[in-house]
Amino acid sequence: MSGQVTYAGRKGLWDWLTTVDHKKIGILYLIAGGIFFLLGGLEAILIRIQLMYPNYDFVGGSTFNELITMHGTTMIFLAAMPIIFALMNAVVPLQIGARDVAYPFINALGFWLFFFGGLLLNLSWFLGGAPDAGWTAYPPLSSGHDFSDQGVDFYVIGLQIAGIGTWIGGINFLATIVNMRAPGMTYMRMPLFTWATFVTSLLILFAFPAITVSLVLLMFDRLFGANFFDVNAGGNVIIWQHLFWVFGHPEVYILILPAFGIISEVVSTFAKKRLFGYSAMVFATVLIGFLGFMVWAHHMFTVGMGPIANALFGVATMLIAVPTGIKIFNWLFTMWGGQIRFTTANLFATGFIPTFVMGGTTGVMLSVPPADYQYHDSYFVVAHFHYVIVGGLVFGLFAGLYYWWPKMFGKKLNETLGKWNFWLFFIGFHLTFFPQHFLGLMGMPRRVYTYQADTGLDLGNFISTIGAFGMGLGTIVLLINIIVSIRKGEPAGADPWDGRTLEWAIPSPAPEYNFAQTPLVRGLDALWTEKMSGNGKMLPAEPLGEIHMPSPSVLPIIMSIGLFIAGFGFMYHNIPVIIGGMAITFICMIIRSLVDDHGYHVKPKELEDGEKGVKA
């Protein structure tokens, strides 16, 4: 009976709304995350214009508060995380030789939850004002209606929905990596990006529930009159800080570990060398992930936890610098003596290394509690985390984008434009954030919308704003590059960079079933192993046969819309809307449980066509 359930290809928009193909979901993440990145970038430029001159009145204080809150929240939850997920989806199953992820349906659901959560959050701009309590939303600023308007409701509900999406996405990658690896792909042969995805997903699994709870408590306080953060009724605002950072610090490693993974791939490919110290790199990744859970209170040194707690958390924080340092040296040793090609991807990777080292250095400075009493809540902290997040993660993402774009879309990005992109962004970045260290040391607090003239802060702020324009220009060049590539990019072919890992063994873009025959992995850097000791092609681990694929489904998007609707019901205290929205979601779950998905089969004939390069 196999092969009887055939599948009529879906086309156009309907295909995208119902897809469960990880490669397409990756593209969806990239588009949605990219749009949020532009939005967050626009907010950043507005912030910087407001701070360009002393006593400047460009957007004013209230809007400024909304802008910094939405900039931080958007960039972390709706831009950085989704673009990371885009690359993970596009690359990880290919790197481990899998046909699919473990839960294609959940994968699609994760995307749509993120998307509608982000949409809900951003609709606040049009529905009474955006949240304005900072991305960390500390109560009491965020908890009562004394200090904050309805905007924070959007924060609470929007992030909750998006967060659940991210969480199930993490579970999906864990199960995929544990269960779906091709024969011979042992753990210690997995490419570093896959390793990073694995550890990142573990962090997501164990960190996101903490913010789920934080948001629930805040939601109950705001919407149902609970007293978690109401000191008059016995509440305690420090609980929020602990829960938020129990999530928040692992979150920053959720952001940076994938970048570490990308840099490892890019550096080794473009040095034409095996990654130096592979097992040390794996070990360092795991150790960073583990230590990441032990240090959350370094965000709270000034809260008054006492000298013992401060000292312990300070030392634990410094420890993280050790595995991080291991990584830095291993990248340098990988490049050492290699045949280095400075493609755009590699430029970003190379630019990453010193920039991230600077961010790590300020991090260690911040981890000294008595010193942190001076730095805390100043621009020094702003400089620190932009060095690690932009100079680290965003450089890493750009490197990854230039590196894997051909695999995702079948065409290269233009290298000349890429170099413009890199240099504008790189110089703009350092112009923006380097002066902020000194602004902070001179006493400029973060999250304050203006400053007095002649206090020594004018020049640094002015340079910083000019730098921000530079980063904006760099991003515009990237957009142009993307348009140019889509219109007349040169076809990439299967292996444009002389790659080492499995994803370069199959056509670009990958056919929907990824591997016509599951490959047999015979060493670290699977494809390179075959290039050196075989005929340059992967050996198949199975005969050519029919391939079973999961059916597309419209349920993920409908379920997400259900929660989106219910979210509005909660915010406006409208019980029928709550019930209606939840009912939509639950009915979809019931349908999903009752109707078995038999999937469909790709026939051998289609397989042969696929092999000849016809898009399946």
Binding site: A226, F228, G235, L243, H548, L594, D596
Partner: protein
Amino acid sequence: MATHHAVNGTLPPEPEKATLEGRNKVLGFWLFLGGECVLFGSLFATFIALRDQVNGGPTASELFQMPVVALATFILLTSSLTSVLGILAMHRNKVGQMQAWFAITVLLGLAFLGLEIYEFVEYYHHGHMLTSSAFGSAFYTLVGFHGGHVLFGVLWIALLIAQSFKKGLTLVTAPKFYVASLYWHFVDLVWVFIFTVVYLMGMVE
């Protein structure tokens, strides 16, 4: 793909782990439960921080009706046992027995929920509410989250029983029962902690 259509009587000994889909489901479910531990851990931590903040209202030891709570505990623990018996029946490929044990599990779950609702209503009349104090907020959030989990479990298992009448026990339905019973044990385990931390520790002051 014969896997989807295994006929009753020809199932392997551990049908939940016989297919890749089944193994994925079981693994993913364990991971899910790992995350849930952090979720409840955070709620417990919040509760412990706030449990003495009664804001002039009744304290835990004045409030709690231990006989009701003890009965609820007994019922829920028994339901864990019946769900184990359900899985044993599944491994022996006895569909009818399995359905019966899971049906009893569902009924016990409902009984637990009934007692919990009764308890909440009582407390409410004593002025112990979500809005009355930080203790009230933390109590209803933690215990209510657990109650929500029980409710979800009851509905879920009921749905599985219903579909097993039509589909029987297959390589598709077996993993579902298996993970549902994992879920049920987890919910029970959380209750043991609630019983200890909220109720027993609340009684000794």
